[in-house]
């Protein structure tokens, strides 16, 4: 029993979960890092560049992913979900469901010979926000960690009809194993940290903004994939309808946030990330002109004001305080943004080539399910509820929270939050 108590369960392998894992592993504790997807990295892996330094997201994330994967104190459980917890601080019993990957992790070399031969095509790649597709055997992105393929059990011909099996023949290492089954695994830990992150508000819920209807209206996360050098367009920005290079771009902040019809809270990062996306767009093509529509320009963090000023002065970004009422499109598929000019009180209609909606960060769909499995409270927005002055402390002793699963936050804050949760977990593990 002594051994079990010096271990921590971390649910979620995004930047927050990874940071907490590394801190605790370095501290000498055993970490069970449970990730629902087939690889770790979370949202940060989907971003192109990150503010306020505009450095490449995956470049600074990759060394941490690699370290997590090879650290002797961290056991990575991918394609896994926590189903149930019993016990108390110092000794929790965790029931975890590990889904079948149908590929043997230790054997797969990530070479991709199977991918090439799979006859199934066109499955939407969620990592690329469905802008790209893959086959029935795939990895979400080229530098996925662990670099191990997985099979979509709903689309695979062999698993559903008993035919094909070409991947088995193509795999030189013999890594394909169709006999794998979902497995229930149980283990004990001394403390738990939740780092499950966020989902993106479904902007189709605001029909007047045209998302889902108008081709050239996309969300911030979709835009990240479009401008990313390793994304579906290879970093060459063209707009969805006609593949033309956009020259005039609009960013709409507070979509689904600061809005009593949807989510009253502030999504924290949009003012900064729309500025960042506009800057990156300008770096790709300095004929691009960007307009950011905002309510309040929120940039309180370290060096954030400097960043906004730079965007305004050097990157052709125009900030307009206005709540956009409606977006329609003209015959050339140009989105037209309709808003009230708060200086002249006139209704304006302005055509753009491309519009990006800063859709709010929202709690994950399964937050409620997880909160029940863990026996901890959610707040009135369905984020995990933390104590007022100790926000990483959940409603149950021994269970801690970090990152966007408790409140919308940016990367620097998530990293701090994660280390903070790790320190609190350490207190529990040191006490016994």
């Amino acid at each position: 029993m002594e051994e079990n108590l010096k271990s921590v369960l971390i649910i979620g392998g995004g930047i927050a979960g990874i940071q907490a894992s590394l801190d605790l592993a370095e501290r000498g504790f055993k970490v069970e890092l449970v990730e629902k997807e087939s690889c770790i990295g979370g949202r940060m892996a989907q971003l192109d560049k990150t503010f306020p330094t505009n450095d490449c997201s995956i470049c600074i994330l990759a060394p941490k992913l690699a370290e997590c994967n090879r650290h002797p104190n961290i056991t990575l459980h991918t394609l896994s979900e926590v189903k149930n917890i019993t016990g108390e601080a110092g000794n929790f019993t965790v029931k975890m469901l590990q889904k079948a990957r149908y590929v043997i992790e230790d054997v797969c070399k990530g070479c991709g010979d199977c991918e090439v031969i799979c006859p199934i095509r066109g499955l939407p790649n969620r990592f690329d926000t469905n802008l790209n597709s893959h086959g029935a055997i795939y990895i979400p992105f080229p530098s996925s960690i662990p670099l191990v393929y997985l099979i979509d059990d709903k689309k695979c011909l062999y698993l559903n009809y008993g035919i094909c099996g070409l991947c088995v023949k193509a795999c030189g290492a013999g890594a394909i194993d169709f006999s794998q089954k979902d497995e229930e695994i149980e283990f004990n830990v001394g403390s738990i940290i939740i780092a499950t992150g966020f989902d993106v508000f479904d902007a189709t819920l605001i029909p007047c903004l045209g998302y889902g209807r108008i081709n050239n209206v996309v969300t911030g996360l979709e835009f990240e994939r479009l401008i990313c050098a390793s994304g579906p367009l290879g970093g060459h920005l063209v707009r969805p309808s006609d593949k033309k290079e956009p020259k005039k771009i609009a960013f709409i902040n507070c979509v689904g946030s600061r809005d009593i019809n949807y989510n009253p809270y502030c999504s924290s990062c949009c003012c900064m990330y729309t500025t960042k996306e506009a800057m990156v767009a300008y770096e790709h093509d300095n004929e691009i002109n960007s307009t950011i529509f905002y309510i309040d320009l929120r940039a309180p963090g370290k060096d954030f004001q400097k960043y906004i000023k730079r965007g305004n002065r050097e990157y052709n970004i125009n900030y307009v305080k206005a709540k956009v009422a409606k977006i329609i499109e003209d015959k050339k598929k140009n989105p037209i943004v309709i808003y009230e000019n708060t200086k002249t009180f006139e209704i304006e209609r302005e055509a753009f080539d491309l519009v990006i909606l800063a859709a709010s960060m929202i709690p994950k769909k399964d937050a409620e399910e997880l909160s029940k499995a863990l026996g901890i409270e959610l707040d009135h927005y369905n984020f995990f509820k933390g104590d007022t002055y100790h926000p990483q402390v959940s409603s149950k002793e021994g269970i801690f929270l970090c990152g966007a699963c408790r409140e919308p936050m940016d990367i620097p804050t998530s990293v701090l939050d994660a280390s903070s949760a790790a320190a609190r977990a350490t207190e529990i593990l040191s006490e016994r």
Partner: protein, 256 residues
């Protein structure tokens, strides 16, 4: 027969080497002319390495680091910039500066890595093979490159270039911050001087020569040559060889 450029690349572990790996993982094809040396930081690349590469017969050298501001070691790539600026100027005397390129590739830019390699390969292809491979030019070019290498190994240029960032941002020993343009002027003068000095040293390496002889060989006015000889003598790098009537000759006593 069309020549295939031989290229040497210095790639930093954290960004450009990772970007090259990503190009591989993504199966992005590019020209096969590059031979890669992995370093931890682009700031590790000593200018002397590049001269060695050119002396060996490499047609083009690529130095790839992290984008400015992203260096894993915080400021290493800024030092790389300063060193490459020095190289650009001093190689300009020999016509080799077009065969050196410093650029930035991040770990997520597999496509960009391939693009840079392809572009550079094409450029060096158009420049033709390194002149050192031409029998007729080999001796002269070798002397040129040796002179430049010698200048870059010498304490003066190395110290000036290594001090640049600290003197233009924090200040010198008198706590004066020297503006960058002023420092650049100083550096340019120093590069010109050291280049000529080391060229003279190469020319008088094995055989003593007089000032007029040296002046003719390197095409520099005799009074300038004398100025440099005086400096080199004070540094202990040159001494009298023979005194022919009233015309002395000088020989290099520089240790290798």
């Amino acid at each position: 027969m069309t020549y295939e450029p031989q290229l040497l690349g210095f790639l930093c572990n954290w960004c450009s080497y990772a970007g090259a790996d990503l190009a591989g993982v993504s199966r992005i094809q590019y020209a096969p002319n590059l031979r890669v040396i992995r370093v931890m930081c682009s700031g590790r690349v000593d200018p002397v390495f590049i001269l060695e590469a050119f002396l060996k017969g490499v047609d083009g050298v690529l130095v790839l680091g992290c984008h400015l501001g992203d260096c894993h070691y915080i400021s290493g790539n800024y030092e790389a910039v300063i060193k490459m600026e020095l190289l650009d100027k001093i190689l300009g005397f020999s016509g080799f500066s077009e065969r050196l390129r410093l650029d930035w590739v991040s770990a997520s830019e597999g496509n960009r890595f391939a693009q840079v390699v392809n572009e550079f390969t094409e450029k060096v292809r158009n420049l033709g093979p390194s002149p050192i491979k031409d029998k007729n030019q080999k001796a002269e070019i070798t002397d040129e490159l040796k002179a430049i290498k010698s200048a870059l190994s010498d304490i003066r240029l190395r110290a000036l270039v290594a001090r640049k960032r600290s003197i233009t941002t924090e200040g010198n020993v008198y706590e004066e911050i020297v503006p960058e343009e002023e420092y650049n002027k100083l550096l340019e003068q120093a590069i010109n001087d050291e280049y000529l000095r080391h060229k003279i040293l190469v020319k008088i390496k094995n055989k003593g020569k007089s000032v007029p002889e040296i002046s003719k060989e390197i095409n520099v006015k005799p009074n300038k040559v004398l100025e440099h000889i005086v400096y080199l003598k004070s540094r202990g790098l040159v001494d009298f060889d023979i005194i022919n009537d009233i015309i002395p000759t000088f020989i290099s006593i520089q240790e290798d």
